[in-house]
């Protein structure tokens, strides 16, 4: 590959146009480098070159998000670059968000690698670290040289499609992607050594920092349950016998939607579980134990609930990632709402 072509995105401040009073500055493209681009080009030497710089005011970008993104993408496209760099934004919040948003959009639209740099507490870092490589910088522009020193080699690797190493080696903010590798010592030894350090009050590094847990607040109670349309949803893997859609026993890639119109009871002959993570015998004997259709039919007949929805949704929770589970629910909850369902009984195992 010849000299890597780069388009650089900066805000009005770093372009020397002005501060807050010029934050409504509309996107403008200039050939070659402006402001911090000089430092980058110095580092790149003969390997790469910033061929154009796009300048945009932070307020303009954030207040006209879709328009600004489209305008900037058009400008980038004209230069047919191998890589797009936004920032670094240090601790400037709106600049950081703009850098993250435009980098993400350029990568998605133009399918070229992108890179940004921010201070870890910049809100843009948290918003875009999972989709964009963001180098961890100091909290002010005084850290420019330091930031460029880390960003330049990572930029070249990205542009050349080389393997990207671990966050601590490359200097970017961890993107939350877990990857396996073989350590030098077995896990038990690592655990014992970690405990000894912890007991001595020495520094140790956990191999899995705890995630911020997504706790779901329950909705307010249903006002009149006797009029409510209730649907059944389960992660217990109940499926029509034979598992027609081949829902996986673990790590499900899909969910099923099946009609229970006219079904009063799930029997050994008609339903079973596809779930591999619990003793299936009792569910296979009587799937009402996991998906309580029989009880809800009784309640329906007794007038204690309005109606049982004609369809149930099902998947196996076993080993299925939270992200994919969420995406299932985002899709079928729209259908539930469209079908006039008022409440859902969600059963797990």
């Amino acid at each position: 590959m010849g000299k890597v072509r780069i388009v650089h995105y900066i805000n009005q401040f770093f372009a020397g146009i002005g501060g807050e009073e010029k934050a409504d500055y509309k996107p403008e493209v200039r050939e070659g480098v402006v402001g911090p681009g000089m430092e980058f080009n110095k580092k790149f030497g003969d390997d790469a070159e910033i061929v154009a710089t796009i300048i945009c005011g932070d307020s303009y970008f954030n207040e006209n998000l879709d328009e600004a993104k489209a305008e900037v993408i058009e400008m980038v496209k004209k230069y047919n670059p191998d890589l797009f760099i936004a920032g670094p934004a240090f601790n400037a919040g709106r600049y950081g968000v703009a850098c993250g948003a435009i980098a993400e959009a350029v990568e998605e639209e133009l399918k070229i690698p992108v890179l940004s740099g921010m201070y870890i507490e910049n809100p843009g870092a948290d918003m875009f670290k999972s989709s964009v490589y963001i180098v961890s910088t100091k909290n002010s522009a005084a850290g420019m040289r330091h930031a460029v020193k880390t960003m330049a080699p990572l930029a070249l690797k990205l542009a050349k499609g080389e393997a990207i190493g671990a966050p601590d080696a490359e200097g970017y903010i961890p993107r939350g992607i877990r990857k396996n590798y073989f350590a030098e010592k077995r896990g038990a030894q690592r655990a014992v050594e970690m405990l000894i350090k912890k007991l001595k009050g020495e520094t140790y590094i956990t191999e899995y920092p705890m995630p911020d847990f997504d706790r779901v607040e329950p909705n307010p109670a249903v006002k009149d349950i006797t009029k409510a349309k209730i649907a059944l949803v389960t992660s217990g893997g109940v499926v029509p016998k034979g598992n027609p859609d081949h829902i996986e026993a673990s790590s499900a890639s899909k969910y099923g939607k099946y009609s229970i119109a006219g079904v009063d009871d799930l029997t050994e002959e008609t339903y079973e579980t596809a779930h591999g993570g619990y003793d299936p015998i009792y569910c296979n004997q009587d799937s009402d134990r996991v998906l309580p259709v029989d009880v809800l039919r009784d309640l329906e007949k007794e007038g204690k609930i309005g109606k049982l929805h004609d369809f149930f949704y099902t998947t196996t929770g076993n080993g299925t990632g939270v992200k994919i589970s969420k995406s299932f629910a985002e899709t079928f909850s729209k259908e539930l709402v469209a079908d006039g369902v008022d409440a859902v009984v969600l059963t797990s195992t």
């Binding site: 877990r178 990857k179 896990g187 191999e207 081949h246 996986e248 026993a249 993570g277 994919i324």
Partner: protein, 428 residues
């Protein structure tokens, strides 16, 4: 309590007219073994194959892996309360056929689980590719009840391991290792300046094919209790589970618990390893609460300053793990937890089903959802067609040429949570 482990190194396994150990080779009298295992009325057929390191062999499904051991001095026999009387074990001398194992296959209950490749990519992930394996292929009688089926396979493996263990009874071991656990107060007197440490071992106990047995008792019917580490080396704990085979402890793992071994290595140097607490992972909330309360209380009662907690399985037991960790930390006792991850095939999802900021020292055995490709093997022991439906398999897992595209989850012992392997994961 003092135990000597006499390791007899085994470098090869071969069929022969007599079952014996000679020149580091285990000879297997196939007919005698088949006759012994066929005694169980629940088994319709029994066959035996050998699988050695480097051979182009794939074993699937895998019910259990067991190391042959025999008691040569001290009370009790191997696998007390299961194959022998419930005498207390863990003292005296035990011989080990180090480098050999019994692997059980044949149709297992429900979804078929577990893969051991003896060569190629898969072999790097399972510790059992490095062993000289005697593979028992057991098919159950028709219409067998699931619980009877599970037990028949479990017992077949243990019986075979005992049978081979006996062949090492009068052999002079290649090395003898020595382990001792003193009564608690004496241990504290012996190393008054070292921090007291215990090991909390969580045992899988979620039901059929997810069970573990302690001196023959189903762990889901037990309360957390104390056990001496040397008892584990004599088969006090055996495996009854293999679903999602990557992070289930086979009996081999229990006999060779690496956390016990590595705590012993630091005993008297950096720490004072005073004992083991075993607890379970039942599915009911009240059981989880009771067991975690009890575990934390036992740790406090022992007066330890630190514990290593190991999990078995994932998802539902993540709750037990976090409850144990949190409650033990709240007693002012420092914890390190050993787990594995289900971060999705792309690694982007959160890895555990429960979390707490107190769990600030975690060792991971890797992301079990990561997809790998395993090359075709010349020989299949067991049944390849099941791979599309095992935990970690999916439609299309079995490719036309016999190669497999599967999650790591399918491979026996790949992300073991006793820290048996070097595999781990980190955030990118």
């Amino acid at each position: 309590m003092h135990l000597e482990l006499g390791n007899i190194f085994i470098n090869d396994v071969q069929f022969g007219s007599q079952t014996k150990v000679e020149n580091k080779t285990l000879y297997v009298n196939k007919e005698e073994l088949i006759t012994l295992i066929s005694e169980d009325e629940h088994l319709k057929s029994v066959d035996v194959e050998l699988a050695k390191p480097g051979e182009s062999i794939r074993i699937t499904p895998v019910k259990d892996v067991i190391e042959p051991r025999v008691k040569v001095a001290g009370s009790g026999g191997i696998f007390p309360g299961v194959l022998t009387k419930v005498d207390t074990v863990g003292a005296g001398r035990t011989h080990v056929l180090k480098g050999a194992a019994v692997v059980t296959t044949g149709k297992v209950v429900g979804f078929q689980e577990g893969i051991i490749d003896m060569t190629g990519t898969g072999a790097e992930y399972t510790p059992f590719s490095k062993l000289n394996n005697v593979v028992l292929i057991c098919q159950p009688v028709d219409d067998i009840k699931p619980h009877d089926h599970e037990r028949a396979l479990r017992m077949a493996g243990l019986k075979a391991a005992e049978y081979f263990g006996k062949a090492g009874k009068d052999i002079e071991p290649d090395e003898v290792l020595s382990f001792e656990t003193l009564p608690l107060l004496k241990s504290i007197e012996k190393y008054p300046k070292l921090p007291k440490v215990a090991y909390v071992q969580m045992l899988q106990s979620q039901g059929l094919l997810h069970d573990t047995y302690v001196y023959g008792v189903d762990a889901k019917q037990t309360l957390p209790t104390l056990i001496k580490p040397t008892e584990l080396m004599d088969g006090a704990i055996i495996s009854g589970n293999c679903v999602s085979a990557c992070d289930k402890n086979t009996t081999y793992h229990h006999l060779n618990n690496p956390i016990v071994q590595d705590l012993f290595k630091q005993h008297g140097k950096e720490i004072n390893f005073v004992g083991v607490i075993i607890t379970n992972e039942n599915v009911f909330l009240a059981d989880k609460q009771r067991s975690s309360n009890w575990t934390a209380d036992l740790a406090e009662y022992l007066g330890v300053e630190g514990v290593v907690v190991s999990q078995e399985g994932f998802g539902n037991p993540d709750t037990d793990l976090i409850m144990n960790c949190k409650k033990i930390e709240e007693k002012g006792i420092k914890t390190v937890i050993v787990t594995d991850e289900y971060a999705g095939r792309n690694g982007a999802s959160q890895s555990l089903a429960d979390a707490d900021p107190k769990a600030d020292a975690v060792v991971t055995g890797g992301n079990a959802n990561e997809v790998i490709k395993l090359p075709p093997m010349e020989k299949i022991i067991g049944d390849l067609s099941i791979v599309n439906t095992i935990a970690g398999g999916f439609d299309g897992s079995v490719q036309k040429d016999g190669s497999l595209v599967v999650e790591l989850q399918t491979i026996t012992g790949a992300t073991n949570e006793l820290g048996f392997n070097k595999l781990t994961a980190k955030g990118f």
